[in-house]
């Protein structure tokens, strides 16, 4: 069997990333449209997507800004959505931690749900790969999904308000979130965290500046961790 070259690992990564475009397609367009509807111009929308490059937190921040939430709480809540990426970072460190600091910088910037999911699965299946193959593979998945994310956002921002009202686009964002949540509920602990989050967010909705959501999130995280320790033993 011929050894995998970095070049072929790169294209394996590219192919592995392609199926994720199906999910990114509605998400990217929708972010562009929603941002434009919230009053952002094309430049602001694109900077948002390029600088942050994390769909769920972009939607979260946008929703909270539309509700006139104070900036500090917008940031805290949106960053909480992205905390899972610290886990991704930790999980890829054994495989990619040996790369140069510049490469690790770019890997970190492009560490999104899709590229992480590809990398963690493939690195486990190919334990013989050395650092050059692994790095090349990761950037292959990046090429498949990340430019598309920018372009889809741009398409959405340009279509913007041309979308007719009967399409009830207001509800497309909740549907996107809910569609992400379903597959996340893998264990009893995840389910407990989600139910706590919903219940407390509704009960605490009277607290101003969306602070109820932040409280709900912190408690829900603790409930998830607690249920995990109880169910694991």
């Amino acid at each position: 069997m011929p050894a995998t070259t970095p070049k072929s690992a790169f294209w394996t990564g590219f192919r592995d990333g392609l199926p994720f475009l199906l999910v990114l397609l509605p998400f990217g367009i929708l972010f562009g449209v929603t941002a434009t509807e919230a009053g952002l111009n094309v430049l602001e929308t694109m900077m948002f997507t390029i600088v942050v490059i994390a769909g769920a937190s972009q939607f979260t921040a946008l929703q909270l800004m539309t509700d006139n939430t104070p900036t500090l709480i917008v940031l805290a809540t949106a960053l909480a959505v992205n905390l899972r990426m610290a886990m991704y970072s930790a999980s890829l460190t054994p495989a990619l931690g040996g790369a140069t600091v510049w490469q690790r910088g770019f890997i970190a910037y492009f560490l999104v749900d899709a590229t992480y999911a590809c990398a963690v699965t493939r690195f486990e299946a190919e334990p013989d790969w050395a650092l050059p193959q692994r790095t090349a593979y990761f950037f292959g998945t990046v090429l498949a999904v990340c430019p598309a994310w920018y372009l889809l956002t741009l398409a959405g921002a340009l279509i913007g308000s041309a979308i007719p009202g009967w399409l009830a686009l207001d509800f497309a964002v909740p549907i996107c979130f809910l569609a992400m949540i379903g597959p996340m509920l893998r264990t009893l602990a995840h389910l407990a965290a989600a139910l706590t989050s919903v219940t407390l967010a509704l009960v605490l909705a009277f607290i101003p500046y969306s602070m109820g959501l932040l409280i709900a999130a912190v408690v829900a995280m603790m409930v998830g961790a607690y249920v995990e320790t109880r169910t694991a033993s």
Partner: protein
């Protein structure tokens, strides 16, 4: 209308913060293991925020002025149920949109 200063502040700080989260272990902490209790909490971060964010949007939709809306609730239930069942984001999304449009169509027609 969102204030321009707010938008740019959020873009810059959310961008920096998100990058630091992603760079944390890869770039700074390296191979040192993270305490188990931290990992255990991080695992539930997304599932602790997103359901709470979306729940009020489902029960009190802005499009109806905050009034409870059966088609939107039905669409939400369908999305989660199909996503949970098929473990597939796209399947959930499609199911939700189908139920939403059928529901809205029926409501308009009745």
């Amino acid at each position: 209308m969102i204030d321009k200063t707010t938008i740019w502040t959020v873009i810059a700080l959310l961008g920096i913060g998100t990058f630091l989260i992603r760079f944390s272990f890869l770039g700074l902490i390296g191979g040192r293991p993270m305490p188990a209790w931290v990992l255990r909490h991080l695992r539930y971060a997304a599932v602790a925020v997103l359901p709470g964010l979306v729940a009020p949007l489902v029960l009190w939709p802005a499009a109806t002025g905050g009034d409870f809306d059966p088609p939107r609730l039905a669409a939400a239930v369908a999305t989660v149920a199909v996503g949970l069942w098929h473990r597939n984001v796209l399947a959930g999304m499609i199911a939700g949109l189908v139920v939403l449009y059928v529901g809205l169509g029926l409501t308009a027609w009745l």
